[in-house]
Subunit: 228 residues, 6 copies
């Protein structure tokens, strides 16, 4: 696991925020609370959590053109922001949140592998700070957080399972997995894929064990950053 | 597992095609072969496989507006077509394919749960037929297929692991997983997510065992439909 | 006229539906009823009928890229769906329909010429089934259908008027005409165009006579499929 | 027929241009010649003619928002510009034009019914001037124009056939027809539609006779404006 | 200064309109009054003025493709219409206007330099006519116009300050400035830019003096066109 | 003038970069060098400099939705990135740069007024570092920079001229001006606008004098950050 740094309250204007750094990967995460929920769940009394993900053009080694210039998010961006949103919702008690929407924005300043995992972990800190503020201001009665939530990328590179792949490792990986796990040791998301080579249940098991090790370290940093 | 029917060569105009039916879910899959590959891999000597996924507006119980009218694929569509494309590429030897692109189109005629899994399984049949044709026409020397490829959705509903969720079950699921596995018994994709409730490694293991059972049935139907 | 087959109730989830096959041309038509009408006619007490038209990418001999990828319907699609919608509205008593919208979706599964005419004819069956259901459920008092409605393509190919052009004939046609006619023998749409060669009133008259012959056959099939 | 005025060479910067006024309807038409043709006909040695149609926002009695603001042409615009383009191509010998594209732009300054017919008639004058210039400059050997081309709208209003409908008549019409006819008395486009009431062949015949009368007047004005 | 012609009431359908010609530059300006204001100022009791700017494709010496075909305004268009809108708002008392929106449309028929300045000056005439009509109809108590408003482009070409640049001069300019000034001799917009060569405060001062001379002439023509 | 901090080489992956902070306003600026230039100047032997500007959603006190979600840059963004690009080009000798494009990306992390001026000043540092690297690597013979370039916002608030407006002051300003000036004391851009109240030449002169004072401070910080 590369060094992990979480700087809470990185953006003073936001209800919640954090800068998360994992090795050279850096993501600014903010959480913004808005009254009301999207149309499809209006009137349900439950809240919603949604995430957006973007990279600065020069977060990457060569410049990546802004998606705005082609007018729509790439498939990769769409996939990632759905992953982040689902993961975060899985640890939120949306009844306790009430009819509010938490927008979690994850903007990658520097990308060296593992940006989606870092976004989940940093996004959780931002979200936790925002809902804690709601609770402190007595806008909600109970803190709607079920657990801490960490995430990490693991993979099989040159036949060996590896934890927390940097960009160079990721680009050579035969199997690539992202896992998100709660402080209760349960998973909320597992996405494993084999562009290079199919994988066995044994390999999957090894990767999950590695992921658990990495996520525990991340959750420890979250606990240092914010108490819930 | 609901009844599975695979009708190969469903679209006579395409290089490869299949209608796959799993319960009330029906997907038309076609494979179209084109010379050349996308810009990012031109000149590599390797081929590419890409997938697109769409639903007829009335594939669903109430009409779903066409994505064309908002001008871009939804996040869900983007996520699904990336999943299908990655899964199919994992069983193709792209060096043997040469600088060609196989476009796999999965159009859902009727949607009753499991459309992404059905698209992978049906898309594989269409793709296999298309590359067999290339081989029969001696455009390529060796068949670039490493294995059959099945996929299925499984989930935890009301605390019980279930195989092959229909729409109604899917909408109540606490955990939802899609798995794609080859005829060699190895996985190429696992996507497990917990909107409702986090899951343990034991539950994941049960779900994988269920998925194996379902996928073996699907692969048997693929073997009946096409020999590779 | 090529063989005509109309399979009513092809999509059990829709309020009305039909598969129409004319030669190798196959179109799935569905009708979905929605309360309310578009903004421009709200409060008028009258209903609306609108149509959308699309082709599966591999409905054609070579793959046609999805219009979604360029973010908007092509001019051809826009032109066709306006034609279908206008034709269907011409045989509906919109006062009797009340403030409801009938969405008719015409999805071409296989395209061998005459897809817009087949869409009108098949769309009529879907729409008729949907409004009959409204009537059966006593949501409306009187059936708001003025007549059956058939449509056909005719053209001048190599100097000779031809009925029901297949794709190969259509691509060689000097004059191309689509006509939609009611069971009362009156026209609701005539679109004749000369990309190759201008046409006289005599030729137009011959084409109309041919169209009448073809449409009568189609209406007979509609009568077999659904009684109004 | 309302008064017709054609002002040739209205836009000195363009290769060909005209202002056409029919009653209160005013359209600026320009023709721009460009080397080369669209990808689908490259290398054929033949030319192409294409048309675009737009309205100033205040061409209408109440302001119509610019289509640019919703990012794509409306279905109506798409339908009209295809009609204009097809009509103009029908009187051009594209072999004689060579691998050139003529862009005909029809911008409606004031709209009081019949804008698509006026665009065809005015667009023809602009196009004729542009190809004459090519001929004068000896860029092409023979003038690639087969005939003059007029167009008019006719309709059935309150049961009576009417020539050259203004906006107010058009909005009450039961049948609406646009016809384009050459100076040889042959048709290149007929589009008749019945939103209000279906029409018989006799009514169609009456409308065509009326259209012939109107178009002859328009072609006379074209002959006054430009000699071919 | 090239010859200036302002034709008020050029578009009889609009609440206010003018054709402004400055040399070969011609712009049709219309003002449309709508009840209500954009969401961000609703309920404030104040009005809003907004402008849109477009060019006919053949306003320029070679054809400029319509922005509609790429689906969004160019940066240049966005910049210009913001400039026009801001300038016009600066001379309107929006409290006196009440909760109304004035849409000012500036459509360039012919472009020979100075189109944005001409749009401001012509747009002012259209807007003034529209608000005068509101006042005449007693919809508002006081005329909400603070002053006449002219605008002009000036620049440094080959080292010499020039007034009212035509296209050919503009394309060679080292410094390019647009200024908008009221009949009280005060400025509402100054935009000076140096693509070729930086400029001193002395040069800026000379350019402003030239601009004052030109704008006074324009305001004189506005006074001839409309009295406020 | 609020405190100014410029951190050069803030993004190690980019050819040139800087973090600029002016009070609470923070902008990450990067410069990326690419071979070749846009189509309109290809083959001229000259280079190009272009800028893009964006804000993180939570750079502002309340969350601003991403422009990507509406599919196109706002008019404000378009206006700003044109301003930055023009300003930077004005101090670059594009002949010496050769056929290369420098993309300058300005991403606002926190916005408290003056973001466009900060983007110009920080963008200049990033650009200067990138072209210095080209020179160090002997890709170009002479450094193509004519001068340092600072920029600042000034305005009239409550009747008094103010230097370096923060957001709160900016929102109350009667006159708002952005100026960009070189280390030679010459201007490259002046944009002054009066939404609230028109301004005299005397006021303009006062604002320019204030701007000069602020820009000199900024250029001093640029000199500390990078030597050219």
């Amino acid at each position: 696991m590369r060094p992990i740094t979480i700087t809470p309250d990185y953006m003073p204007t936001a209800e919640g925020s954090a800068l998360i750094e994992i090795g050279n990967t850096k993501v600014i995460c903010t959480a913004s609370v808005e009254d009301g929920t999207p149309a499809f769940m209006r009137g349900s009394g439950r809240g919603w959590v949604t995430a957006e993900y973007a990279m600065l053009p020069r977060a990457t080694v060569t410049r990546t053109p802004r998606e705005l210039n082609r007018g729509r998010p790439s498939g990769r961006t769409a996939e990632i922001q759905r992953l982040i949103g689902r993961s975060l919702r899985a640890v939120v008690d949306r009844d306790k949140l009430g009819e509010r929407t938490v927008h979690v924005d994850c903007d990658v300043i520097q990308a060296d592998g593992g940006t989606r995992a870092a976004s989940i972990a940093g996004g959780w800190v931002a979200m936790a700070a925002a809902v804690k503020q709601l609770h402190d201001y007595k806008a909600i009665r109970e803190l709607p957080l079920r657990a801490y939530l960490g995430a990490v990328s693991v993979g099989v590179v040159a036949g060996r399972p590896l934890l927390d792949l940097c960009y160079e490792e990721d680009s050579r990986a035969d199997v690539d997995m992202n896992a998100a796990m709660t402080s209760a040791g349960e998973f909320v998301e597992i996405q494993a894929c084999a562009e290079g080579r199919a994988f066995s249940r044994e390999q999957l098991s090894e990767l999950l064990s590695l992921a658990e090790i990495g996520i525990e370290q991340i959750i420890q940093k979250q606990k240092d950053a914010i108490k819930i």
